[in-house]
């Protein structure tokens, strides 16, 4: 696999999936702290 493709893949997957995971985790934590 090309080096450029590896960098782009890591960036895109990390940004989108990392962002999505972080947002879900933070939402769950906030809701738990509020007792919802």
């Amino acid at each position: 696999m090309d080096a450029g493709a590896i960098v782009m893949m890591l960036f895109v997957l990390g940004f989108i999936w990392g962002g999505f995971g972080l947002l879900l985790w933070r939402s769950a934590r906030i809701d738990r702290d509020r007792g919802e």
């Binding site: 696999m1 090309d2 493709a5 895109v12 962002g19 933070r26 809701d31 919802e36």
Partner: protein, 497 residues
């Protein structure tokens, strides 16, 4: 959905909203649009527009729906005055026009679910199954009817049903997408697919079409500019978060698209060479016509054939896809019905009217793939116009005032700052104006058929169909405003905030 009903929790709202966003836009549309636009280079505008177009517009829709407690027409009227009702009408009609052919695609998902259950899809292979299906117009119409009837029945029953089903099926769809993507990348030859999807040719970014398709795909798939989230927001509490929920919907939607893209494109690279007479994978992906329209439906069965418990996995996959497609269709029917409820029709009649209309107006798309592709082009890009109308409405109200009065009073878990004002005041309108001007210029100098209203992808067909819609709604503005808003004359920004 009765007015007193609300989503029971943030998770309930999020899965329903992600269910609204995740659907065939991710699994049917994203892989084929990304493939046709070069793969890697397409991801750049697609990511840019998620942040600069779709997420801000999702926030605007949520805030407008809550403030107005009405559908798109009433929301525009209440925000900027009854003279703006035609804008809401265009937004609503654009989503309805998408609903007409979306129901056909949801019907395809049903057909494949039944085919997976009986084992016919795996027995015949994706291509043969698709060709047999397309050769039978009555089947296409029948499954279109099945899809729109199911969605209509769910809308009739209310929000609780949507929330319950989505809570199970949306996480299941994500799990199956992960399993499918993992299997696809481990097939011999799949690396070619990853190279195609993640290796951008930066010179291709000078082509307007990639940017136009990137914005359209982002809006089509996240639901930005449809008025769907605006409608769902009527059923949320005024205190519910706006900023983080909009970000989660946008990122969740793109996460599903990426998995579907990896799954389908890697499958094509791994499995196409073993099909006798098949062109090379890259060529196959960039072909137009029905082969591209049905890309996911042709290749997903081939992929699942390579997996352990192939038939069971395929059944579960199409079951989850049916739910995802139906949850998006439900949102579109809900949005359309709400417009008629606001205009004085009873809820039951409005849902029946929209469901029946969806079936009748979806018939041409169920009988002709060319017509479907034309409608996807016209109203998919039409979402860009809808998004621009949302920005115009926010600016007429005042972007900073909109943020202060409609977004900040919610219990937001992430802060919203002046960046929102800059995005809505300058960035969103600039994106629209630059893209539309670039498109007009390029079409005029390089596409001899650009004016032809009967060509599937021409500028002329878009301008004609949008123009007719604009003209009718502009002409009927007062009547629509009176039906929806009654005697209300001034914007009422204090409602709900």
């Amino acid at each position: 959905m009765k007015t007193q009903e609300q989503f029971t929790s943030r998770f309930g709202l999020l899965v329903a909203a992600i269910g609204m966003a995740v659907g065939t836009g991710n699994i049917w549309r994203f892989p084929r649009v990304a493939a046709q636009n070069g793969g890697g280079e397409f991801l750049i505008p697609w990511l840019v527009f998620l942040l600069l177009w779709s997420i801000p517009l999702l926030m605007v829709e949520t805030a407008m729906g809550r403030q107005a407690q009405k559908g798109a027409v009433g929301a525009f009227g209440r925000l900027v005055g009854r003279n703006a009702s035609w804008m809401g009408s265009f937004v609503g009609f654009c989503s309805m026009a998408i609903m007409f052919y979306y129901a056909v695609i949801a019907g395809w998902c049903f057909k494949y679910l039944f085919g997976a259950l009986t084992g016919k899809v795996l027995e015949q292979g994706g291509r043969e199954f698709w060709e047999a299906f397309q050769a039978s117009p009555s089947e296409s119409v029948f499954f279109h009817l099945v899809a729109i009837s199911c969605a209509g029945a769910i809308v009739y029953r209310g929000v609780a049903g949507i929330e319950r089903v989505c809570k199970v099926m949306i996480p299941l769809l994500f799990l199956l997408l992960v399993a499918g993507a993992v299997r696809a990348v481990t097939l011999p030859g799949a690396i070619g697919g990853l190279n195609f999807l993640f290796n951008p040719d930066l010179s291709a970014l000078l082509d307007y079409r990639i940017w136009l398709e990137g914005l359209t795909q982002s809006a089509w798939s996240t639901g930005a500019g449809y008025g769907l989230l605006l409608t769902y927001s009527i059923y949320t509490s005024h205190r519910d978060d706006i900023v983080m929920n909009s970000l989660t919907i946008g990122f969740g939607n793109n996460a599903a698209s990426l998995l579907a893209g990896i799954m389908v494109i890697c499958s094509v690279f791994a499995l196409a060479p073993s099909n006798p007479g098949s062109p090379p994978a890259e060529e196959l992906l960039q072909l137009g016509g029905p082969g591209n329209t049905a890309l996911s439906f042709l290749w997903i069965p081939e992929l699942f054939q390579q997996m352990p418990f192939g038939q069971l996995s395929l059944v579960l996959f199409f079951l989850a896809l049916v739910v995802a497609a139906i949850s998006s269709l439900v949102a579109m029917i809900e949005m359309s019905s709400r417009l008629f409820v606001d205009a004085g029709l009873s809820r039951g009649r409005a849902v029946l009217f929209v469901t029946l209309g969806g079936f009748l107006f979806g018939l041409p798309a169920s009988l002709s793939t060319d017509f479907l592709v034309n409608q996807d082009n016209v109203w998919g890009i039409g979402l860009m116009v809808s998004g621009f109308l949302f920005a115009v409405a926010v600016n007429r109200f005042g972007a900073a005032r909109f943020r202060r009065e409609l977004i900040e009073p919610a219990r937001n878990d992430l802060p919203i700052g002046r960046w929102f004002d800059v995005l809505l005041r300058w960035v969103v309108p600039a994106q629209f104006l630059i893209l539309i001007t670039w498109w007009l210029y390029q079409a005029a100098i390089s596409e001899p058929d650009w004016w032809n209203p009967f060509a599937s992808f021409s500028l002329g067909t878009c301008l004609l169909q949008w123009g007719v819609a604009f003209f009718i709604f502009w002409l009927l503005n007062d009547r629509i405003a009176t039906a929806t808003l009654g005697a209300e004359t001034a914007p009422d920004p204090s409602r709900g905030s």
